[in-house]
């Protein structure tokens, strides 16, 4: 049985990605201690504006894959910078007890693979050229891993702080 995106729920995906930008922006700006803060929040708003502009053409009813791919690449880069910061600062004696580490790992696994999932069909510009099932199931699997890891991270974050 082939599963296709229901066009009616694609607006929810767009909305979710837009909200996600705020969540990750707050997390990374805080974790990387990025200063000046207003500058990074400005970039976040510009990114959001660009994402909305991209989706406006289809009135947000078609999932903005190109925008999602750009966001995933941005998150991947931020995750790599965060890993570098973890290794450089050597603040964590037991990295497994760091909530931030699990959150970053969840985001990194999701963002690095999903960027391909979103980008390839966009680059190929051929909707019939791939089987939707393949990336749909893969996307679900990656999302499950992501939320499990972020869940562990948030639990540890609440327990120990960071």
């Amino acid at each position: 049985m082939k599963v296709y995106f229901n066009q009616n729920i694609q607006w929810a995906g767009n909305l979710f990605l837009a909200l996600e930008i705020f969540f990750f922006a707050a997390f990374f700006i805080n974790f990387l201690a990025a200063k000046p803060r207003w500058f990074y929040w400005l970039i976040t708003f510009l990114l959001l504006f660009w994402f909305l502009y991209e989706g406006a053409e289809s009135r947000f009813m078609v999932f903005n894959r190109f925008g999602a791919s750009v966001l995933c690449i941005t998150y991947s880069v931020l995750c790599l910078i965060s890993y570098w910061r973890i290794l450089r600062l050597q603040n964590y004696h037991f990295i497994e007890q760091s909530g931030a580490f699990w959150i970053i790992s969840g985001v990194f696994i999701y963002a690095s693979t999903s960027s391909i999932v979103f980008a390839l069909p966009e680059i190929l510009k051929d909707e019939t050229a791939f089987n939707v099932n393949v990336w749909w199931y893969f996307y679900i699997l990656i999302n499950i891993i992501r939320y499990v890891l972020i869940g562990i991270g948030l639990r540890l974050y609440a327990k120990y702080g960071d």
Partner: protein, 260 residues
């Protein structure tokens, strides 16, 4: 047709990306563990070194106490006992000579107590600094008559933290004791100089030792004094070198300048 070509490539790309992401995470975890293990090893090593220094310092303190007790018992005790014997005679029959001898014995005891007190904490070192204290040390050594010692200063050395001055003073004291005890030297020169570091140079004509012998002896149970030298120099970040040039042995002690 296009579907058939793209599908495997697409799947391989996804799996490769997933493997890469997991690889990065594993690398971070393993690298972090390795660094932490290295840090813990370093901390353990430092703790062991500190313990060694502490042990040596306690042992040296105990030996110093033993030496002082012996000095007080054998020298001061014996001299005062003799004085008491002279004064123990019948008050009516005591002669002027007996009083003079007793007075001399008590003076001797006082001077010995002063010497013990000086050895414990030299006043010159506290009030005037390392340079004057070393000069004084050479003066006392000369007066003892066991060796002909000279003191030279090329450039005045600055004052350091009191603990550092005391450590360096003890190092030179230990080196001089070793030279007078074991080297059979007849001439000795203590030179002070200053460039990027404080340089204390001891030259003597006795039987000295090489760097290798120093390292070997300081590890043996008999080399407690040499071990103390090493530990004291470690505390002040100093260095020591033993050289033989022609018929003379040189001991070079380097101490970093106070502001470094």
């Amino acid at each position: 047709m296009l579907n058939m070509e793209i599908k495997p490539f697409f799947i391989i790309m996804l799996i490769a990306m997933l493997v890469m992401a997991i690889g990065v995470i594993l690398f971070v975890v393993l690298y972090q563990r390795r660094v932490i293990k290295h840090q813990l090893d370093l901390k353990l090593l430092n703790a062991q070194k500190e313990l060694e220094v502490l042990k040596a310092s306690i042992q040296s303190e105990e030996e110093e106490r033993k030496r002082i007790a012996q000095e007080l018992h054998d020298d001061v005790g014996a001299t005062l006992s003799s004085a008491r014997l002279f004064l123990n005679a019948d008050v009516n029959n005591i002669t002027a000579e007996q009083i003079i001898i007793s007075k001399k014995l008590i003076d001797d005891s006082l001077s010995k107590i002063r010497m013990v007190s000086y050895k414990l904490q030299p006043n010159t070192l506290i009030n005037l600094g390392l340079q004057s204290a070393l000069e004084n040390m050479i003066e006392i050594l000369n007066k003892s008559g066991t060796i002909k010692a000279t003191f030279e200063v090329y450039r005045d050395i600055p004052r350091m933290e009191s603990y550092a001055e005391l450590h360096v003073y003890r190092v030179v004291q230990e080196l001089l004791t070793n030279i007078t005890k074991y080297a059979n030297a007849t001439h000795l020169t203590l030179t002070l100089n200053l460039d990027s570091r404080i340089r204390i140079i001891l030259i003597h004509d006795g039987n000295g030792m090489t760097n290798e012998q120093f390292e070997e002896l300081s590890k043996s149970p008999k080399g407690q004094g040499l071990k103390n030298i090493k530990n004291r120099l470690r505390i002040v970040n100093g260095q020591i070198e033993f050289l033989k040039i022609e018929d003379y042995y040189r001991i070079l002690v380097f101490i970093p300048l106070p502001n470094e």
